[in-house]
């Protein structure tokens, strides 16, 4: 039964990949977002406030395409070309929003107060690239022809 479930998930994923290829990054999110929103409705937790804002990098430039989620749920949105976002559902004080962008470390912010809120988010932590590769070859005292060639030229 469990095997079948996994298989279905896999199949669904492949279908999604085919169906939504051009906007793949966001397509499954929208579907999951609706499901999640429905779930929240049924639990009666929709009485919150609107959260919007802007996300910038450490130079202060707006970041487009930052994905934003309520932590622990699949409810999310992304920033537009100017780095702005408006969360699609109402949020409650204390809920955590996660902000992620490829190449930057994800950050978390808590939703404050009971009134509508405008967040200014800075994603500061970029990653210094270090470049080693997977190497497990055997040490040799000899200089290979290739290395010799490189040394000379």
């Amino acid at each position: 039964m469990r095997g079948f479930k996994l298989f279905s998930v896999g199949t669904a994923c492949v279908l999604l990949m085919i169906a939504y290829k051009p906007t793949f990054g966001q397509a499954p999110t929208v579907k999951e977002q609706i499901e999640s929103a429905k779930l929240r409705d049924s639990e009666g937790v929709t009485s919150g406030h609107t959260v919007s804002g802007i996300v910038r990098d450490k130079e202060g430039e707006p970041l487009a395409g930052v994905s934003i989620y309520v932590k622990g749920t699949t409810e999310g949105t992304t920033t537009d070309a100017e780095g702005h976002f408006k969360f699609p559902t109402k949020l409650k004080e204390g809920e955590i929003l996660t902000f992620s962008f490829m190449g930057l470390e994800s950050v978390e912010y808590a939703v404050m107060g009971a009134a509508d809120e405008y967040m200014e988010i800075s994603m500061l932590e970029d990653v210094t690239i270090i470049g080693d590769l997977a190497a497990d070859d055997v040490y040799t005292t000899k200089t290979g022809l290739r290395q010799l060639f490189r040394k000379i030229f």
């Binding site: 996994l6 490829m102 470390e105 210094t128 270090i130 997977a134 070859d137």
Partner: protein
Amino acid sequence: MRACASALIIVSFVATGVYGQLSDFNGNDFTKADSIAEMYPRYSLGNLKVLSDKLTKPLSTDVEKFRAIFKWVCINVESDYALFVENKNMRSKLKGEKLSAWEKKFSARVFSVLTAKHRTICTGYAYLVKELAFHSGLNCRIVDGYSRHARANVGGSGIANHSWNAVELQGKWYLCDPTWSSGTIDNERQTFVKKFEDAYFLTEPRLFSQNHYPLDSQWILVKVKPSLQKFLHAPLVYSASLRYGVEPLAPTSFSIDVARGTRVFFQFNKGRGNEFSSLALYLENSRTSDAFTKQEKACNTSYSVEHKFLHKGKYAVHIVMDGAHVLTYEVRVN
């Protein structure tokens, strides 16, 4: 002796796939986590939250979730030789502001190559593991530092060249290296050869510290920490050393000088890890291409292999278990 050897062979079959470093999770079977990781080949990196959910939602324990993430990254991301060469060359060429400016552009390119082609260099692997873990609620971080292999940090004063991960599971921190678990570079062909290596997943920290030394020494995760100098000058270990649980005892340094006619005993400890059925010493003479097997001698968990150096020269001495290199020394005979 023959009876002993056959006993060892039997043990080696039983022990296959069981590594000491995972002893805290002996009750865990990663079959399910691994099979989930295999369900999403080359899945889009456009939204890591979506991928993380797919990999971890069906799993109940943190260690299984982390395993699925680690395994997915290792089997789906390849090392990019061209990026490695460019990074190495530019770092030695540029300094100060020019280096910072180049670093920023390079970083953007590394991540766009990762997203578009599933190819990267070590920081990209460590970043993916960290971010996927973040989205499943696991506390994971990137650890930068020195890695040591045949072409890096053998002697010298040390160059920080590598990134790996530390992850908190059940209140304890563990170490892993997704880059080295993903496969190896064929040095001659300068291409990546994909091969999952379990030895760098939640490795016993003492073994891990033989070829990984963090810039921030708190991430060594062993009580008695070796100095950076000791790390850089220790006998050279390989992935197989971690699989077999090999730690060198004597000589304590990679490079040794001896007088002609000296008998040198190469000794090491073997802790938890795969059992072996053959042990050999290979001698590589720098002046000829000859290499030959010497002898074996075993007692309990520490082993000693000896060789008498009769001729002047510089030799690479290898200790080899079941055909896999586990230790290398460089011996100068005067």
